[in-house]
């Protein structure tokens, strides 16, 4: 494709109005033509201005799904703070490769090194936590001074509280949770199906980007549940796990809801 042929197609290309073959031929030319690249960039800004007028409110579930499919991928573990300097995209790619390489090295070394020991300690801490969840619920019941979870939930819903709707992937409401200011939280209703006895629903809070187990709900999600939410919890999520629960989510997130930062006072 000559430069003039490319130029004639540029406008249509920016608006995705060419055929597949024309698109490929044009891209081959543009990749080596600074003049066309500049015109392309200018056209793109104009297209963006035209789209700005269409800007509209986005349903909250879209962000929840984005967050669920990105932050839970395990790719967010503690990283160096962002450098607030413009970098070219090749530098971006390199920065990212370095991060990935570091993570890969950490995992490999972890098999024999100190990281492995740390991982084992973590696993046992989580293991204990999961094992204790049921007795925790009993002690929580005593703390809120109610005879049953259902009664405590009714008391909480009568006072100041925040209602969090957990949305499923299709956007439908999968569950409702009531959070009282002290962080006591109640799983009060759900449209999720009953699991086989070998599995349990497990509730997670997202704290600083990491899922933290909040408790096991058992196989029947219609039963009310009581758990405790910490101040830094930004999201509530639910997964289906093997009966004893898991230290971190092992299956897809079934539903996600956002906890307003004001929901929990000092806990």
């Amino acid at each position: 494709m000559t430069h003039d042929e490319a130029g004639a197609l540029l406008g249509a290309y920016v608006l995705d109005a060419t055929s597949e073959e024309e698109r490929e031929a044009l891209e081959a030319h543009v990749s080596g033509c600074a003049h066309c690249q500049a015109e392309l960039a200018a056209h793109r800004e104009i297209a963006a201005l035209m789209a700005a007028g269409l800007s509209t409110e986005v349903p909250a579930r879209v962000w929840e799904q984005v967050a669920a499919s990105t932050f839970l991928s395990g790719s967010h573990e503690a990283q160096p703070p962002p450098r607030l300097v413009p970098l070219s995209s090749s530098k971006l790619a390199r920065a990212r490769r370095e991060v990935l390489a570091r993570r890969a090295r950490g995992l490999a070394l972890g098999l024999g090194g100190a990281a492995a020991a740390a991982a084992i300690v973590l696993a046992s801490v989580f293991g204990t936590e999961v094992g204790q969840l049921h007795s925790q619920v009993r002690s929580l019941e005593q703390q809120v001074g109610a005879a049953s979870v259902a009664e405590a939930a009714a008391l909480a819903a009568a006072g100041p509280h925040v209602t969090v709707a957990l949305a499923a992937a299709d956007g439908s409401r999968a569950a409702t949770v009531v959070v009282a200011p002290k962080g006591f939280a109640y799983w009060i209703s759900s449209s999720l199906g009953e699991l086989p006895a070998s599995e349990t629903y497990q509730l997670w809070g997202l704290v600083e980007g990491k899922p933290v187990s909040l408790g096991l709900l058992g196989p029947d999600p219609r039963q009310a549940g009581l758990f405790r939410v910490g101040k830094g919890t930004s999201k509530l999520m639910v997964t289906a796990e093997p009966a004893g629960g898991a230290p971190s989510p092992t299956t897809a997130v079934l539903a996600v809801g956002t906890l307003p930062s004001s929901a929990v006072e000092e806990s």
Partner: protein, 188 residues
């Protein structure tokens, strides 16, 4: 950190995302999701498909921030270009028959173009479009908001394909000279 992010440049946000900073992605979403979703919904009509495209655009940016080159324009223009391309792919694929049928009904309305112009919140953009020669304006709108190829536009306008290609290009250039002051610098 929040204050920093709200005023962070596109390049800084892209670096943040490259370093897996979820709050950087959240800020990119806060700034751009409304336009991404609005454009996808305009093209696809089907709300659920538009939500899917919006989700894909931001998950895609999380996974491949290096595809955005700050030297070649604003992050918003990049994300909207990705959105437009993805929505048009869906429109043209066999799978989205449902969306096309819905869309055919919406497009068949008596004053589709006028409806679009009225949706333009940005008064200056609206005025600049209105000042274009009508055939140029219509060619750009049919392609950008209607998802038509220039060949389809040529059929609709009953003009040679070459005429339509140059109408689109000269219309965009005219808009550029009128709206240059609205375009954010790449190093904002």
């Amino acid at each position: 950190m929040k204050g920093d992010l709200a005023s962070a440049s596109d390049a800084a946000l892209a670096v943040g995302v490259a370093r897996w900073r979820e709050e950087a992605l959240a800020e990119v979403y806060r700034r751009n999701a409304g336009a991404v979703f609005g454009l996808a919904r305009r093209l696809l009509v089907d709300e659920a498909l538009a939500e899917e495209v919006t989700q894909e655009v931001f998950v895609g940016f999380w996974e491949h921030p290096e595809r955005y080159d700050p030297a070649r324009g604003s992050l918003r223009a990049f994300l909207l270009a990705v959105t437009h391309g993805r929505a048009v792919d869906l429109l043209r694929s066999e799978l989205s028959r449902r969306a096309r049928e819905q869309r055919a009904r919406a497009v068949a309305g008596p004053d589709f173009e006028q409806e679009i112009v009225e949706l333009m919140a940005n008064e200056q953009v609206r005025q600049a479009l209105n000042r274009l020669p009508p055939a140029e304006r219509s060619a750009i709108e049919l392609a950008y908001f209607g998802g038509h190829t220039y060949r389809e536009v040529a059929t609709i306008q009953n003009e040679p394909e070459g005429t339509v290609k140059s109408r689109i290009r000269s219309g965009l250039r005219r808009l550029e000279s009128e709206l240059a002051h609205l375009v954010q610098g790449a190093d904002r």
